[in-house]
């Protein structure tokens, strides 16, 4: 059921809407949040690869970097499993930001 904004009678669908019922809201938000977290995780992973390839990192930095990335990877998998989401569910079109991935 749509609550029409006054004056909208002639153009009921001018805007693109993402309609969400209350039960879907949580799932939608979780998906959005995890997608953004995953985006950041992937960005960090790529940056780490670039930094290692560029050289100049101390051994202990490399070790800590790698261990943190491993942990993040593990945690993301756990979170996804917990919410019943597959990797493909966390796929968002970010327009120009998509270039970062």
């Amino acid at each position: 059921m749509t609550t029409d904004v006054p004056g909208d009678e002639l153009e009921p669908r001018r805007r693109a809407r993402i309609e969400a019922d209350p039960e879907q809201v949580e799932r939608g938000l979780v998906q959005l949040v995890l997608t953004l977290v995953e985006l950041l995780r992937q960005l960090m992973e790529r940056q780490a690869i670039r930094r290692v390839e560029a050289g100049g990192l101390e051994d202990d930095q490399v070790e800590e970097l790698g261990r943190t990335l491993m942990l993040l990877d593990e945690k993301m998998t756990e979170l996804r499993d917990h919410f019943g989401l597959e990797a493909e569910d966390l796929n968002i079109d970010l327009g120009p930001l998509g270039r970062l991935l």
């Binding site: 153009e11 669908r13 001018r14 693109a16 992937q42 992973e45 790529r46 780490a48 690869i49 290692v52 390839e53 051994d59 490399v62 070790e63 800590e64 970097l65 790698g66 261990r67 943190t68 990335l69 491993m70 593990e74 327009g95 120009p96 998509g98 270039r99 970062l100 991935l101």
Partner: protein, 207 residues
């Protein structure tokens, strides 16, 4: 609200007589439009793509991104008018071409976590390098045989889009498939020919 599928030359505009599709013409261009379903879904996106591909099999098109809409046919015509010269220029850039999509990635595997942080990073770096090498090798096959190659964003995956003249498509596909057969660690796929989605976006929006 109507869905915008693609733009093509007015003189080449197809006759569309089913599924509620219509062709709006203005100046030198024509726009294929149709009804907008009330929900968005993968199936709807694929149906959208199939319409675009159907038109693209016969004429050069500028495909819209799925979900692009206009309030009504008048608004769509207005868009056509406003963008005529830039869209005509882009159509010329992809004239006679299709898009081949190449993907390469290591298959999913449940492997042991690395023994240390450094080993984990090492693994990441060597995998990234593996994809870069694949890009170079495929690039050599494509040189001189396709107009443009773009590497698309992808995580732990090589994704290449090639702007190929139609008469070169089959040859390129065979060359890449031969290369793929020689790969023991990467799974490779070549699909297409597609409409030239990856080569028509605005520069500032490309990606």
């Amino acid at each position: 609200m109507i869905t915008l599928f693609a733009v093509t030359w007015r003189t080449h505009a197809p006759t569309l007589d089913k599924d509620g599709l219509a062709v709006l013409a203005d100046g030198n261009l024509a726009m294929i439009v149709g009804p907008t379903p009330s929900t968005t879904s993968r199936e709807d996106a694929l149906a959208f793509g199939r319409v675009v591909e159907r038109v693209a099999s016969a004429v050069d098109v500028l495909p819209f991104r799925y979900g692009t809409t206009a309030a009504d046919t008048e608004a769509a015509r207005e868009l056509l008018r406003e963008n005529e010269s830039s869209w005509a220029a882009r159509l010329l850039q992809v004239e006679g071409c299709s898009e081949l999509a190449i993907r390469a990635a290591r298959p999913e595997s449940d492997e042991e976590p690395a023994a240390s942080g450094a080993a984990h990073l090492d693994r990441l770096v060597s995998r990234s390098r593996q994809l870069d090498i694949a890009e170079e090798e495929i690039g050599r096959l494509l040189t001189g045989r396709c107009r443009v190659v773009r590497r698309l964003a992808g995580h732990q995956e090589l994704r290449l889009s090639c702007l190929v003249e139609r008469h070169q498509v089959d040859l390129l596909r065979v060359l890449v498939e031969e290369w793929a057969a020689s790969q023991t660690e990467l799974e490779v796929s070549v699909t297409g020919a597609w409409a030239t989605y990856s080569f028509v976006a605005n520069d500032e929006e490309a990606g």
